[in-house]
């Protein structure tokens, strides 16, 4: 995560977490602490320096004595970029979790729970109880409906753990099925869909497979030889070669969802034209038909014709 601009309250919140972290660590490098707090090393240095003017109030009319303030080992900080607290005047124990922090973690746990073999009921129950006790206020309920887990998901999770290759039939949209052997590297889970990223023995490259399009999946006895391969950035993998232009009323933009993340968008008189890359022309048929004509494919012309034919073929079934 990239360091973000902080306002005074954010900085105060970070410093309240910084003291228990530093006390727990004993000694820690500037870089490591900066990474833990998502700030730059320079920001971390200034936070640590700032700490040394924080302390207990002096007695009425007197300034604070030095042991009333936090202090650090300045030689270590200046000479070796190491942080060590030498005097603490409170805040040693981490603050309770805010309602938002608990809500964010609880929702994440519900999603993690949908992964076969990750944690058991007892582990989750224990965590829920601890988070509830550690919260400073009741979190807003954020509930994720459990998704049905099928055999394919179960087996893929198993293969990842055992570091073995899987073989399966893959049916890409509008293409003939192929048989693949893949060293699994990572499973992405987004919007209820599972995507397997792995080294494809057929293509000899990293590929992403939508698990709904996978069938006849089996674990092979072949040890996965590419499981340390760096997985490509998630969205890179579906950038396509076809440049498409689509038109829709500006207000309908949310219908396009993440399609627009990588699009060039031009809006005039309430109508938007988006230029974007898609994997193949045929995928535009489904995109347009899902938005019942509100989203209009302009180019390429073949894709526009294909949309009309697609809808017409659908209609023909009802005559």
């Amino acid at each position: 995560m990239s360091p973000r601009p902080l306002v005074a309250t954010d900085r105060a919140a970070l410093m309240l977490q910084l003291v228990p972290y530093l006390v727990g660590k004993g000694e820690v490098s500037l870089d490591e602490a900066a990474a833990e707090f998502d700030v730059t090393p320079a920001q971390m240095r200034s936070m640590v320096e700032k700490l040394t003017v924080i302390g207990l109030p002096g007695d009425r009319g007197y300034w604070q004595m030095s042991n009333d303030l936090f202090d650090i080992d300045w030689d270590l900080l200046d000479g070796q970029d190491l942080i060590v607290i030498t005097n603490a005047v409170g805040l040693e124990r981490a603050p309770k979790l805010t309602a938002r922090e608990v809500a964010a973690l609880l929702a994440g746990l519900q999603l993690a729970r949908s992964i076969p073999g990750v944690g058991d009921t007892e582990l989750y129950a224990g965590l829920l109880a601890k988070l509830a006790r550690g919260a400073s206020a009741t979190p807003a309920e954020v509930i994720l409906a459990p998704e049905p887990v099928d055999a394919v998901r179960d087996l893929v999770a198993d293969a990842l753990r055992r570091h073995v290759a899987v073989s399966f039939t893959y049916k890409a949209p509008d293409a003939a099925p192929t048989t693949r052997t893949v060293d699994p590297v990572k499973v992405h889970i987004a919007s209820g869909q599972w995507y397997l990223q792995g080294w494809c023995h057929l293509r000899e490259a990293m590929r992403t497979f939508h698990l709904d399009r996978v069938s006849d999946l089996e674990l092979t006895g072949i040890p996965s030889s590419h499981s340390e391969e760096p997985a490509p950035a998630w969205f890179d993998s579906d950038a396509g070669d076809v440049v498409a232009r689509v038109r829709f009323p500006e207000a309908a933009a949310p219908l396009l969802g993440d399609y627009l993340d990588r699009a060039m968008v031009d809006t005039a008189d309430g109508m938007t034209v988006a230029t974007m890359r898609v994997a193949d022309e045929l995928s535009l048929r489904r995109l347009a038909a899902r938005r019942s004509g509100v989203v209009e494919v302009l180019e390429p012309p073949a894709a526009r014709r294909a949309v009309a034919e697609w809808a017409e073929a659908g209609l023909a079934q009802y005559r």
Partner: protein, 331 residues
């Protein structure tokens, strides 16, 4: 306020000095003591800032700290609790700190680390990370991380953050809601109780104050700003709301099921398979919202035919006709 050197003390230093002072006191500190002795206030007092300005600053600081989850207790006059002139302020450390007897096992930390990473953007991702930091500060237990899985949550609906905040604060909200087939949005007024993700769509569940009944709204149909009212409702209403919302959605799905004929081996067959049960003539698929399901089925074009119900079939036909006509009609 005069532009003295004292006024330049950064506000976060003042906030932190205030927390340290309020935690260190058992009996509590009066406002007067705070303004004249806590660093950050004291300098401004001595530089001649007006008492009124300082008191306002103190009020704002208290609110900021409460927003961070710092529990500031006000101990009023025993005889007259409404008289805050002699009130004392403190932060009870038992309320502020994570309880002494809470710690996390390495397996729990590994699971929490996975859970904390699911928010791909937005403020809940910062909250998850900050929560994890507090937990990690309890003890630096090293465990094997859970590798190979990257679960992600990314609520794109603009209404999500405002609704989340309103639920947490138990505030009534209003928002414009556009139902499919209605020409204009209608303003809804609800007590929001829970956010629910169901089949990859976010819903807000709450009590509709005009209908005087539980209602579930799709966030994607909220077409304008979510406005929170000043007052709050009884937070007890929120208890168990998530379970109730989920049960409601599941009951709707159990009631609505479509009979479909699907061409084997097609995209439609693959995408519907996990939700389907076999039927005599094709497959049965439950659905929650007829409009959304009709959108999905229309996208499959000739790969799927709706047998029942008629309502769903008609909506799919309308969509396909509109799509064809928008793209130059039949060849």
């Amino acid at each position: 306020m005069p532009a003295t050197a004292a006024a330049k003390i950064p506000p976060e230093e003042r906030l932190l000095n205030l927390v340290v002072a309020l935690i260190a006191t058992d009996q509590g500190l009066t406002k007067d003591t705070i303004l004249t002795s806590v660093a950050g206030y004291r300098e401004q007092s001595e530089a001649g800032a007006s008492k009124d300005a300082l008191e306002k600053m103190f009020e704002r600081d208290k609110e900021s700290l409460r927003g961070l989850g710092v529990p500031i207790e006000t101990i009023g006059d025993w005889a007259d609790p409404d008289d805050l002139r002699e009130a004392r302020y403190r932060v009870p450390s038992a309320e502020y700190e994570l309880p002494e007897d809470i710690d996390f096992t390495p397996a729990e930390l590994a699971l929490l680390t996975l859970a904390g990473g699911v928010w791909s953007e937005g403020s809940l991702s910062d909250d998850a990370r900050s929560g994890l930091r507090k937990i990690r500060a309890l003890g630096d237990l090293v465990d094997e991380p859970i590798l190979g899985f990257s679960p992600q949550l990314n609520p794109r609906d603009p209404a999500f953050p405002a609704l989340h905040q309103a639920i947490e604060a138990s505030r009534i909200v209003t928002f414009p809601y556009l139902k499919p087939g209605e020409g204009a949005p209608r303003t809804r007024r609800i007590q929001p109780l829970a956010l629910v993700e169901y089949e990859a769509r976010w819903h807000v569940f709450g009590i509709d104050l005009d209908a005087r009944d539980d209602r579930t709204f799709l966030l994607s149909r909220i077409v304008g700003p979510v406005v929170a009212a000043r007052g709050s409702f009884d937070p007890a209403l929120r208890e168990g709301a998530g379970e109730r919302a989920l049960a409601g959605l599941e009951a709707v799905a159990a009631r609505n099921s479509a009979l479909l004929e699907v061409n084997p081996g097609t995209e439609a067959a693959l995408r519907l398979a996990r939700r389907a049960t076999p039927a005599e003539q094709g497959i049965r698929v439950p659905y929650v919202d007829v409009h959304i399901f009709a959108d999905e089925l229309a996208s499959y074009g000739p790969e799927v035919r709706v047998v029942q119900p008629a309502d769903l079939r008609d909506r799919v036909i309308d969509r396909l006709a509109a799509t064809r006509d928008a793209h130059g009609g039949a060849a």
